[in-house]
Symmetry: C2
Subunit: 302 residues, 2 copies
């Protein structure tokens, strides 16, 4: 690749404010929930299941429950002991699958050892699979059919569509190929008409590929992976990574997979960490719960 | 991209002989079928359903049936009139889903107008979905779980693994993003550890992306799309396209998406058309039928 024209030395990427976007999205969902209730007499309900006592998972689950409640929906928490058997968990899911007051079911991952996450995830009725991690929703996404899409990739997509509008023909490079983020986001971007490249741990020259990206999405969990020279001037950078690092003074700070202070000098637009993709995930969970309720009650998403 | 070193003027890519590979694969399947029958007393059975009188479909279906029979399996043809209703077709599929003598079910596409191909495809029990086109098999492929994979992409993958062995870190560029070939093949190559780029009708500079490919797969149906200067010297080229063109003398000839005479001067290895990917498709259908029979009878694929 020949050298690309550099931007002026005082260039600063515009910030993609995921926090503000998520707040507005939640407010919109709150209004839609009210109007849906007015029309159909139904309040969307989300059941969240936590097994065991992982402290991080407890925080996530609590935040999901509170935000669900704030959006005017019903929120049901099922906090089960570490000793829960797979049969007990599957029996609970089966009960929730049949419960007409429940429109979304989420099992917080990771599960304790001995519980098969794949089997448990697939046991959720596809219409209520608001995490979009079951085989049928994964298949519908791969084929390009409507369905429930995993929350973090959906959040990235909403930010990108808001920033860029029509993305047809843009080259999107996704670094990271997980089932939770990288692969579903690659399929979403392909459905938007992007040329899509997926890089990962085996990729030989990730920097050279990243430099071709009009849209660069980084979801690796390797803090500080993406440096200034990985970014094409003017590119839109979405940083999904979030890692807590300890500073020399002993304090801790959340950082992304992108070296923000460098990237901001080159990128056209960039999500900060925190306050970028992070807040979108729960907002998209609420969006999926409303979508699921609409599907279950009316047979169509809108 | 700077100019890449050119190969010597008498360079000729080595041919990937899909016809010979498919013949050997079918022979191997024939032996496995015999041995499977010896162990379990079960002969794999494939049901092929054709609706209407499309002449090309009639040829395909007949070839599938004959090769199934030649592989020592049971072959059942269901040729239904154009007037068949969706209810009748779904009832037949339901009967075959339950029939213990049937291990694979294939509905020849396209279906006549008025029949919903997606609904019909999804009605096939996933364990018998030997075309791998149902939502559950698509989801399992996207997630990276074992399942039944569409026949043409599986054929491409088998040829590539035979030629290249471990493909981790190789840059695979797939031109074409259909549900039948491009997308499933991209997911298969990702699972093999390739860096994967997908180009399509909206891609701005397909040639520049193609030139980066260690593995170039072309599945567009645009005959003659890929020229000499699209190919990195030494790359492995898989040409999935197959189009019948009329020559100036009035005769017809089958050609691929790659201008073979040019590509052969640059590529390291290349599939011819015909005789490359084409013969692999039915061989992989037989392979999938045997896999399905093993799964249904023993609960595991091997």
């Amino acid at each position: 690749m020949s050298t690309t024209p550099s931007l002026s030395s005082d260039h600063q990427a515009s910030l993609i404010d995921g926090k503000a976007f998520a707040t507005a999205l939640r407010e919109q969902i709150r209004e839609d929930v009210r109007s849906f209730h007015g029309t159909h007499g139904v309040t969307p309900g989300l059941a969240v299941i936590l097994v065991g006592n992982d402290p991080a998972s407890e925080v996530y689950v609590r935040n999901k429950a509170i935000q669900t409640h704030h959006a005017g929906m019903r929120s049901f928490m099922h906090m089960l002991p570490e000793t829960t058997t797979e049969e007990e968990l599957l029996a609970l899911i089966e009960r929730l699958n049949k419960d007409p007051e429940i429109h979304g079911i989420l099992v917080q991952l990771p599960l304790p050892n001995g519980l098969d996450a794949r089997r448990v995830t697939n046991a959720i009725r596809p219409e209520k699979d608001v995490d979009g991690l079951g085989e049928i929703n994964a298949g519908r996404l791969a084929i390009g059919l409507p369905g429930l899409v995993p929350c973090t990739p959906l959040g990235c997509l909403l930010l990108l569509k808001d920033q860029l509008g029509d993305m047809r023909g843009q080259h999107a490079v996704v670094i990271g190929s997980s089932n939770l983020v990288g692969k579903p986001l690659a399929l979403l971007l392909l459905a938007e008409g992007c040329t899509v490249s997926v890089a990962h741990i085996h990729t030989r020259d990730t920097a050279a590929l990243a430099r071709q990206a009009d849209i660069l999405v980084v979801a690796t969990g390797c803090s500080g992976l993406v440096r200034k020279d990985w970014i094409k001037p003017g590119a839109t950078v979405i940083d999904v990574g979030i890692t807590r690092v300890t500073l020399p003074n002993g304090k801790t700070r959340l950082v992304g997979d992108v070296v923000f202070d460098e990237a901001v000098q080159v990128a056209g637009r960039i999500t900060p960490v925190p306050g970028g993709v992070g807040p979108m995930t729960i907002a998209c969970l609420l969006k999926n719960t409303l979508t699921a309720a609409k599907l279950l009650v009316t047979g169509k998403a809108e």
